[in-house]
Symmetry: C2
Subunit: 190 residues, 2 copies
DNA sequence: GTCTATATGGAGATAGAC
DNA sequence: GTCTATCTCCATATAGAC
């Protein structure tokens, strides 16, 4: 891996575990083994390097979600594959964790990359939920976008609780509970 | 309000919006209008002041949750009151946001206060869910602790999404979807 | 108790040599 | 392209006067 890529990879790594405010250029150089001069040769500064690193992580997340939701098979099975996708639970979401960072919130460029990545996942999710409802695999007693938000909240919130408890149990419980509830028939079928 | 209380209140405020890593002693002094000397007179340093501030915020959250869940009336109504409790959605959860802070995660004292506060809310939630199941107000097709985790995840995740989108819609959608799902009959009643 | 002065180290970046 | 030197500012505190 070349120097530039090493900087990006180390920044992705550190942003994931320490956030933007908690990551210094010094820490990035130490982690990557790259020298001071190279950082400012390839990037204009910390925020520029972070922008590239976050874009990289966002692309990765969107690709992963798309792989689950745009695969073949029944829509409901794709949704379950998305919910049950193997995630590094104790590390949290590399994008979701940045939403709480004060310096990211204050930087419109960085903020929009994060918000956009989540938004794109939501769009894919809404489409797949619509397909599942049309195929009568999901009850139609709520708007697809409303259910999509619950799915994303369950995952993001599960990761928050898992991080706090230093255990994957709250995350797994949350996903399991949501799936159990989705399997219930809606009121119209009573 | 005396000087010490002003320091605590300002620290609570800044930890809420900027996290621990993103909050400097200088910012606390500026926000509170208190002088440098007073901070180190009343507290041993930043982490000591933060500890008191976080304990204060944790007590506040636990009290708020207890007010909803230990009120009179049917268990299911108390659960709905908890889910529908009026929260400052765009500001996020003052405790939940700290779970992602790297310096809090590294400080066992601070970390345990945050984890403990969430855990106590979970315990109250489990108890109330058990009562609702006994009273046949909730389906018994899952463990109370599993459903409790989903409820907490929905709220915490809803706040994450709301922060990212700078809109309360994802949060409100998530809560509404969860309540809709909870109202469905379980499979045994088909 | 609160003030101001001072200290150390790190954040974040620039400059110029190689 | 990468290195080292240097710069300014801020984080986090300590010291001692008032």
């Amino acid at each position: 891996m070349n120097t530039k890529e090493a900087l990006i990879a180390s920044t992705q790594e550190l942003l994931w575990t320490r956030g933007y405010t908690g990551t210094s250029p010094r820490a990035i150089l130490d982690h990557s083994g790259v020298g001071q001069g190279s950082l400012y040769h390839y990037f204009s500064g910390k925020s520029d390097l972070a922008r590239v690193a976050i874009e990289r992580s966002a692309e990765r997340m969107k690709a992963r979600v798309a792989t689950c939701l745009l695969a073949g098979g029944r829509p409901i099975d794709r949704l379950l594959a998305f919910l049950n996708d193997d995630r590094p639970i104790l590390r949290g979401c590399p994008i979701g964790r940045l939403t709480a960072d004060p310096e990211i919130a204050a930087d419109e460029t960085l903020r929009s990359i994060v918000a956009d990545a989540l938004q794109r996942c939501r769009v894919l999710l809404v489409q797949t939920i619509e397909q599942a409802m049309v195929a009568d695999e999901l009850a139609k007693d709520m708007e697809p976008s409303v259910l999509a938000d619950l799915m994303l909240s369950t995952l993001q919130g599960g990761l928050v609780l898992a991080g706090a408890a230093a255990s994957d149990v709250p995350y797994r419980n949350s996903v399991a509970a949501l799936i159990t509830l989705l399997r219930r028939p809606d009121s119209a079928h009573r």
